[in-house]
């Protein structure tokens, strides 16, 4: 592959990153509206309590935890597809692998929101994380919920660095400039 051909491929690849049409902004407004609606609902839930979420005694976990598991599952599927395509060394794999890796990272980020939304007092969510506080209270490492935090953060770090997602972004930034 000569240099001219490489440049052409790179230009084709990076065009949607560098040039945006009006539709892009329409979609941004639409999806941004969904985000604003979600944030509003969350603030409403925080002010009124989880009574608005339809959860009751004795079933204390409901669709927030279900959503968490669902999105983690989607994320696992992304990793699985990308890993299998890598392992069998399929030459046509590149675009599929990229899609799968992006799904992994973003589905995980969506999933990681739900345990926090699920909390009764979400403004204290950082008590789930091990950090040296002035009270020297660490989270209870026997609790599976603390290991949820470790699982999500490990998976997020791993899928960002080990699946070449960040290196690819770095390369595109190099060509773009």
């Amino acid at each position: 592959m000569n240099r001219e051909e490489t440049n052409k491929i790179n230009d084709d690849l990076l065009r949607p990153l560098l040039q945006t049409s009006g539709w892009f902004y329409v979609i941004v407004v639409l999806l941004g509206g969904i985000i604003v609606a979600g944030l509003g609902s969350w603030l409403y839930q925080m002010s009124r309590g989880l009574v608005v979420a339809g959860i009751k005694w004795p079933v204390y976990w409901a669709f927030y935890v279900t959503n968490f598991v669902f999105w983690i599952g989607i994320s696992h599927a992304g990793t699985l597809i990308s890993a299998i395509l890598r392992l069998v060394n399929a030459t046509w794999r590149r675009p599929v692998t990229r899609c799968a890796e992006v799904i992994t990272v973003f589905a995980l980020m969506i999933g990681a929101m739900f345990p926090i939304i699920h909390l009764g007092r979400p403004w204290l969510f950082f008590w789930l994380m091990p950090y040296p506080s002035e009270r020297q209270i660490w989270p209870n490492f026997r609790s599976p919920l603390v290991w949820d935090f470790f699982a999500i953060s490990t998976y997020l770090t791993g899928s960002n660095f080990c699946t070449h997602c960040l290196p690819k972004l770095y390369r595109s930034s190099q060509f773009g400039s």
Binding site: R48, G49, L50, V51, I55, K56, W57, P58, Y60, W61, H118, L119, G120, R121, P122, L124, F125, W127, L128, I137, P139, N140, R142, S143, P144, L145, V146
Partner: protein, 228 residues
């Protein structure tokens, strides 16, 4: 010797009058949620009286069982709490630290007895109940789990009184609100580490059983009933 608080509930004496439920609500500042939310399963009863019907229609016998936190020795709610809000005190009580609770509700899911209650909404007391709040008991915020404490404020007050008078706590001196209100004295509270206390005698009774014993949570409440 450290205390180990326990309880014995004589089901043959229980008439199901629910005086214990009312007394508990008054003593422990338990908020009311109103009829609509109560029907949706958001009522909080630290102690409840379960009803069981035996026999066919004309020949029915109703059995009552007051169920409250069993203050388990191997409590399933404790290891699952990520913030140690649910923890074991030196006297074997199953304490809930409201200020540490962030409302993951894991403890309530782990509890086999369904005796943990969550503040789904901001706590309210219908007038004039707001005028009778007990100053010895903290009011819980929205998003916090709460449950029976064996009236820990009364236990501490009793111990302080005994210390001030330079003596040991007498058996029967400390009574939680439910035991105090029980007209048939079906509920007996005391120190299980004192082999001569009434609750120790009752706990050794051949009529005694534990609730859901096969779960292995080692509850400290013994239910007494005629074994047939």
């Amino acid at each position: 010797m450290a205390h180990r608080w326990g309880m014995a509930v004589d089901l043959d004496r229980c008439t199901g009058c629910e005086a214990c439920v009312t007394a508990c609500r008054a003593e422990n500042n338990i908020p009311t949620v109103g009829p609509v939310q109560a029907a949706r399963g958001r009522a909080m009863h630290w102690i409840r009286v379960e009803r069981y019907y035996e026999g066919e229609f004309p020949d029915v016998r109703v059995k009552f069982r007051p169920v409250l936190c069993q203050q388990c020795d191997a409590a399933p709610c404790e290891p699952v709490c990520p913030t140690y809000a649910s923890h074991h005190t030196e006297e074997g009580l199953n304490a809930q630290v409201y200020n540490r609770c962030i409302g993951t509700r894991y403890c309530a899911n782990a509890c086999p007895y369904n005796v943990r209650f969550f503040n789904f909404a901001n706590p309210v007391w219908d007038r004039p109940l707001n005028l009778q709040l007990n100053p010895d008991v903290s009011v819980r915020e929205v998003g916090v789990m709460e449950k029976c404490t064996f009236c820990v404020q009364r236990i501490n007050a009793g111990k302080t009184q005994a210390k001030a008078e330079n003596r040991e706590v007498r058996d029967g001196e400390i009574q939680p609100a439910c035991a105090q209100a029980c007209p048939t004295t079906a509920i007996v509270f005391g120190d299980l580490n004192d082999p001569e206390s009434e609750v120790s005698h009752l706990s050794r009774s051949t009529r005694g059983t534990k609730l859901l014993e096969d779960v292995g949570a080692k509850p400290k409440i013994t239910y007494l009933q005629r074994q047939s």
